[in-house]
């Protein structure tokens, strides 16, 4: 699994409440995506393109455990999220819905908005094409990679149910 796209960089401790506004959680995703992360960067929901990569500081996705925040990120077309660290519910929810999330403690120091990143999800190798800088994310356990390949936990369970 590979991802390649423009980098959108965000800060530390971004709560799910800022990824998806609390008053929008019951709205359709077509509406939610127009506001994703808007209070952190108003340009993001307007200009994010399929394949783009979100980079964040530490503890991305803190606050609520609802998977809607991870889902909303997926609906923007973002191909993966790399953060210095994640809130554990967000990390789990990423795999659950089939959105690659990688932890790389050095990431924010070596990438900037608009730079092109290439990410090998399986090995965790990250290349900043714009600067040539290479980085290594923490490895993802193999069964979580399987889950991603299947398209998420439920897709995987469906597949297993089909086989069984």
């Amino acid at each position: 699994m590979q991802a390649r796209g423009r980098c959108w960089k965000f800060g530390d401790n971004i709560p799910t409440d800022r990824i998806v506004r609390t008053d929008l959680v019951f709205r359709p995703f077509s509406e939610i995506v127009q506001h994703v992360l808007e209070t952190c960067n108003p340009e993001f929901p307007l200009k994010v393109k399929p394949g783009d990569i979100v980079v964040a500081g530490k503890h991305f996705g803190q606050s609520s455990g609802r998977a809607i925040a991870a889902k909303a990120m997926k609906h923007t077309g973002v191909s993966c999220i790399i953060a210095e660290s994640f809130a554990r519910t967000f990390y789990r929810n990423g795999f659950e819905i089939g959105m690659p999330v990688l932890e790389c403690p050095e990431i924010t120091a070596h990438v900037s908005d608009g730079e092109i990143l290439v990410v090998d999800i399986d090995s965790g190798r990250i290349v900043n094409e714009t600067t040539g800088r290479q980085l290594q994310a923490k490895p993802t356990p193999p069964f979580l990679l399987d889950m991603l390949r299947a398209g998420g936990l439920i897709a995987m369970a469906e597949r297993l149910a089909g086989e069984g």
């Binding site: 530390d12 401790n13 709560p15 409440d17 800022r18 506004r21 609390t22 008053d23 019951f26 209070t39 530490k58 503890h59 803190q62 606050s63 609520s64 455990g65 609802r66 998977a67 991870a70 660290s85 994640f86 809130a87 554990r88 519910t89 789990r92 929810n93 659950e96 819905i97 356990p141 069964f143 998420g152 936990l153 439920i154 369970a157 469906e158 149910a161």
Partner: protein, 420 residues
Amino acid sequence: MGRAFAEKVLARAAGLSEVRLGEIVDVYPDLYMSHMASWRCIRTLEKLGTDKLYDPDRIAMVMDHISPARTAKIADDQRLCREFAARRGIKKFYDVNAGIAHVVLMEEGHIRPAMVVIGTDSHSTIYGALGALGTGVGFSEITAAWVTGKLWMKVPESIKVVIQGPLARGTSSKDVMLKLIGDLTADGATYCSVEFHGSYTEGLSISDRMTLCNLAMEVGAKNAVVCSDEVTRTYLAERGVPPDRYTEIHPDPDAVYVKSVTVDARSLAPQIACPHAVDNVKPIDQVAGTKVNQVFIGSCANAKYEDLVEAAKILKGRKVAAGVRLLVSPASKEIVQRTVKDGTYSILLEAGALITNPGCSACAGDGGVMADGEVTLSTANRNFQGRMGSYNAEIYLGSPVVAAATAIRGVITDPREFLP
């Protein structure tokens, strides 16, 4: 080498004699809680096309967060849950009249020491108040657990928090936790199991233990625990759960902790978490005098019986300041009953409170939201922007007595002014 609480409990729930730190294990949780998200679990189950449930007795559903229904869509979702529970023989189903899931499940005796409990809610850490390991997961994971009975978990490192008591005047478990969150920061315990130790925790009420374990989520903890003891056994016995119905698990005396922190509760001042981060914590004198439009006494962190009684002691015979709204949302039906019986309910009403039905209420943005530019002092556990209405509103977090004192003055007020 000694093992900490989480290592021992996860080994038990995984059916292994031992687990290693960082190891990923398949755990069989003892209880799967889902709240309003239950309908999503049911829809996902339908999508999976299976009728099989691993163990309906491990499923608990509580219709909190938005209760009663606010829209036809929510009413429909709740009906789906109600009918599913009836059809599938789910006995631990609690409807919109029950209150906040976390508190209801403990009051009903469903949470016991050494259990692993997963919930569709990040504050599932609260179950550590009864010596259980509680943690939050997404709704698809709950659905998968309904069917397979299991869930992957990484064996966490543990952090030891030593709280030295007794408490200073005018402070409570809330102030202890806000101080800890300010010191450790919002990600200070990410992926870790937090164990509370120290003289303050000895003999501490279950209500206060709930506040500790609930707020541990705000340092990013995977779970949090005050280990079971005589207080736990008494609480459970009062709820019809005798000691032979559960086992207890305690950390080894020589358990290894990745970090140890101490909070000296003896010299603590009331603490306030300021907008817009739970770890933006200041002693009350630095924010006293800040004007508020609303005071909210609610949430699974601080709307328990004891919290309402403490607030009522200050509000008794006094009035909420003109122009200020005091919203009280008791955590459960049982709490409403107790406050009605002992007169606490009338004290709050007479002071000018609007008392809502039990549930998450304003904490989940379900009523009681703020207009642009407004300020709330809340006893809940989060103050992120947009959590209670307008993005241009501010939330300060404090204890129930701070809330009561603030409601009377209309500005953030040190509760010690009102204490003997």
